[in-house]
Symmetry: D2
Subunit: 376 residues, 4 copies
């Protein structure tokens, strides 16, 4: 890729949920982040030509392609938004041609696969980014600011959970997300990756990396009906996981995720407690941060929508709340700016590999019945 005044030609693999979320983000940048690099939604990549054409039309792409290899050659930036089993090969191919990559999370199905991706990223100057979008919630950035400024003191405890209910019903149909071959793992990789990354983002600079892991996985429904068939197919991933961790500085953490928890739709919550204060966050109320610092007697419910809050000056006046999708706008802004300016970007593939180490340790702990130590 050569930096020029031409718009960055973006190729996107995947046109469903994540394809829509990122396309929307790209479309919104000019109005709200006018200093973002100009972008052309160039090629949309997928397999089903009819659905692909319809998606390209709606999402604003001029071209479609069913061959991701060719598509990568035609674009300046490659978004890999496919299912997990398609993360490694196309992402590595793009990086081998020095094309910047934004790959959805989790980075890979397995630690081995993630290692290959991390290594490919190490061999190029192209930006290799993993799309942990919750790092870009204003309230999370604000929490990070408080932690970095020492407002919480030394970090002692982290608690993260990500609860959903969409698989609570055993009659919910089978999808690729229930298959180890296609997805790697279940709630662990899909949801747990977010939590482990978010915790690392928030406390990593002060508490260090995870050094020790104990984990538990559980599959409550062993097979699920097929959508277009009378039969069923085996569920080969977890419906839920939990984990305990220790950090280099001695802090402890507890993590948990589930796709079968009645009463919780997209409840990604994280709490950080230090010697001098605490913060707690919940994704279903993503404009709010509960903050206890200084002389506070209880948590303050801070609506993180003031003009000097992270990213908020790009949007609306105080109290005019943002939604889930805004995290993608911020993420795309940061990623594309890094690409255009030749800057480093975080979370990188190396960051995502560290997350994958923890996920892998959770699985090993569950299988081996032991605490797993991560060398640092």
């Amino acid at each position: 890729m050569t930096v020029s005044d031409d718009p960055l030609r973006v190729g996107v693999l995947g046109y469903r949920f994540m394809g829509e979320a990122h396309s929307n983000a790209l479309a919104r940048l000019p109005m709200f982040f006018p200093d973002a690099p100009a972008v052309e939604r160039h090629t949309l990549v997928g397999r089903d030509e009819e659905a692909l054409a319809a998606a390209a039309d709606r999402l604003g792409f001029a071209r479609t392609a069913t061959d991701w290899e060719a598509a990568i050659d035609d674009v300046d930036v490659f978004y890999n938004l496919g299912p997990n089993h398609l993360h490694a090969e196309p992402s590595i191919a793009a990086l081998e041609s020095d094309t910047p990559v934004l790959c959805e999370k989790p980075l890979a199905r397995t630690l081995d696969e993630a290692e290959g991706m991390r290594d490919a990223a190490a061999d190029t100057d192209a930006v290799a980014a993993c799309a942990f979008n919750y790092r870009f919630v204003p309230a999370i950035r604000y929490a990070k600011r408080l932690i970095d400024d020492g407002e919480l003191g030394d970090i002692r405890q982290v608690r993260g959970r990500y609860l959903q209910d969409w698989l609570a019903d055993p009659d919910e149909p089978w999808s690729w997300r229930n298959d180890e071959e296609l997805a790697g793992s279940g709630a662990l990789g899909d949801l747990g990756a977010h939590t482990v990354d978010l915790a690392r983002f928030l406390v990593g600079d002060r508490a260090g990396e995870v050094t020790r892991v104990s984990g538990q996985l559980r599959t409550f429904t062993d097979e699920r009906p097929l959508d277009d068939d009378d039969g069923t197919r085996a569920v080969t991933v977890d419906d839920a996981y939990s984990a305990q961790v220790a950090y280099e500085n001695g802090a402890t953490g507890t993590f948990e995720a589930s796709r079968v928890t009645e009463g919780h739709k997209n409840d990604h919550s994280i709490a950080v407690h230090g010697t001098d204060g605490s913060v707690t966050f919940s994704l279903e109320r993503l404009n709010e941060l509960e903050v206890l610092t200084g002389d506070d007697r209880g948590y303050e419910t801070v609506l993180v929508t003031d003009q000097d809050d992270p990213y908020v000056d790009h949007w609306w006046p105080p109290g005019h709340v943002l939604g889930w999708e805004h995290t993608f706008v911020h993420e795309n802004y940061e990623f594309l700016s890094a690409v255009a300016e030749g800057r480093e970007f975080s979370p990188s593939f190396a960051d995502a590999y560290e997350v994958q180490r923890v996920l892998d340790a959770v699985e090993r702990s569950d299988e081996r019945g032991e605490w797993v130590t991560l060398d640092r």
Copy 2:
């Protein structure tokens, strides 16, 4: 205007807060509401040519104009997003040329002015819409559905309040919103209009119109510093108001708004209580509705983000929350669809006139020291 396959040419007066909110809405329709009429952001109207040109560039308008009369002639639809003192004349002019109008709230500065607008709307088949965007919150639509379905039984009580804090500081500079000549009223018209309309939307079909009003206005800060000057200027509108009302069916209501309430940024809350249930809503948590119906022992906190919730199928999976700006997308979708299809649209100028009658009664009650009866 002639219905055709060509995009609707939209002219927009006003390029600040509301101009941005509506321009964003227009820009997002094709991706998320593909059945919306095609729209061309045609002409942006304002006075300051330099700022206007910059705004047009960012907001995606091909043309600018400083003369709203000429602009109205060039477009198919006219958005009047200017300050309140500019609502009547351009809106009436547009309607007189049978150009559909979407006018920001409150409809007018005074009841007389509102009457003129209502009458102009009555003389044309063009859609005359008032932009009470909170009618288009999914949770509010869901509440309306519950009320219409009789889940709350007979309506007995309504409680609405709209609390902000941006004028709590007496050193906050003077703006047109502090001036009776330019704005008509203060918190009453700016915020109270929303509440009165929202209450009417929710309970009007079951409880009827407001029949009796008692009101109180208060200005806590009599003058404010000028932004670009050493001097101050008088505040000639209210900082806060409260009101009690009765409805045709005997239900009662209490309303309140303030720009000086510490701890509340954009807290527009409304509660409706009936013989069989209750709902409560707060704008700062706009994805949620508190619902008590049937055998419920307490309020359910319903996250109104399921696929069969109003408008939600256009957006993201359950639990992936929407923001304030989405109300404008829904509003523009409904308005433009009504324009294209020659359908009626609500809230209309006639609806907004009913709101203005209540606001006017609040002021009269305060001045005269009496309850004011509204003939029905």
Copy 3:
């Protein structure tokens, strides 16, 4: 009454809800408030001898009486916990014999009756107390402390509401609380008296008295079934009221109460907003106070259970929450201490008379269709 080392002989009129609440409070003083005056639960007064005897046995009274006049002669302190129509005559009789009185709220059925009670209190040195127990919630005392210390700055707004649901069902039987002759008014006197007093307690020293009132009453169910009969009896009091007020310093207030609001059992909430901060309280979470002061960006949820919080050092460690009944223990402690030490006590009959003036103005405003001015 002569102060002596002997226990204060307490006579109590009324042995139902309030009789039990106060008897419990008296019984708990020695263990938790050992410096409280010694008390003898001396005589329990009522009409139904059998029920009375059983109650006396359970509530710890050695004697019963059906003649309150005689009972007053036998005791050092008189608790008037009867229905509202029995407040005036026995209380005045006790005061005329210089016997201290603790009378339940509302002070009286009418302003005239309240005036007589206030005057009787003015003619004796005996303590004449009205049992507004919510003044004795630790969180309310803590709020009062913050307001008195100027943490909220100048008071601008008060908002109080007291919502219950026990009369939501039109088949709920008739009781004396539905009868004007016996109760004076309905939600207004029963619940609104609490709110008006609590607001006055919190802001009176800074905002002054109420100067202007607008009110509305509503009866939704006109007759109710009799408990022991096939017939019905007319409801001659309000099911709900609302009011707007102004204070001497220009602050405004809105009040509301209801016995028919689905979803609210005993929801007495009050909010006070000043130039520098805000507090909000809700009785159903009575250990908590929402506080915004100083540099707070949002409300702090303060659990008012620390050792230096009002009354808390008498009870349990931080976080071990108190209940509704503890307000009566604190109230009895303060009242009896005032009696024993010959000190003034607040809320007095004079305080309660001021409350009654506001209640009376609410009724007059509703009847006359005008704002009512209270001379100061």
Copy 4:
């Protein structure tokens, strides 16, 4: 002990926090639970004669004793409310003389000690009760009722945490609770015992016992200042623990407690999720239960204060909330009734032993770096 009409003579070891909580409970029974056995607060046992005498006077005991062995001989029921190192010996002695025992939690310092106590209980018909008072919160009983009735379906997940902050400050003085010899463990035994028991109470009948445990302990402050001395003393217990468990039916659980978590005073929270619903509870709002069952779209906030809610008919009308101390009244009522009627009581020493097995497994998992399996 012989059942008779005479009051049960109760001897109580310990006169501080727990001594006061139980003495208060005993004192309140006659008024609110008139069918409870009559009780005489007979002998208060302690070491410091002066403090003991003052406590006995205030708490209503006629006698004091410094020798618990002698005291046991004089009473019908023995309450062991001393520090943990005094749980085993006096409790066993009482049971050996067939005297019913109510012993504070955790049952013992170690599993061995607990085993001895369990065995002593097995050898007598006297009631041997462990004072897990949170089983007696009305909202918890109500949750248990829902779970037993199958409203939550099959149990899949349990989440418990007990967060306090009183040791967050490293300068908080040393006490016996920081010493392994005196307390056994720290947050694990003091707080975790409550959580493990409460989870077992709620889900044990449906999910079975814990079969597998992974645990982590952490001491953040290694030594603490002595109260009456310039020196410090080592902290030999945990400040915090976390654990993961599996139940016989395949359900999973995560537990956590801490004495060093800023922002949480006495935050004992528990959530239970099943195939058909969820409940969540928090001790700081102990009158509430969040319930999702049947067709609920979100959690209902149920105020568990209705007349048909557990224990509530003994107290006040709906919405008149109870406090922490009421759990002791209910617990004493059930315990004393079981004693008087010769019935079984739960939680028994055998129940508490099962809790201790889990606590012990947490410690072993942490030490050995492995998951610990509990034979069933």
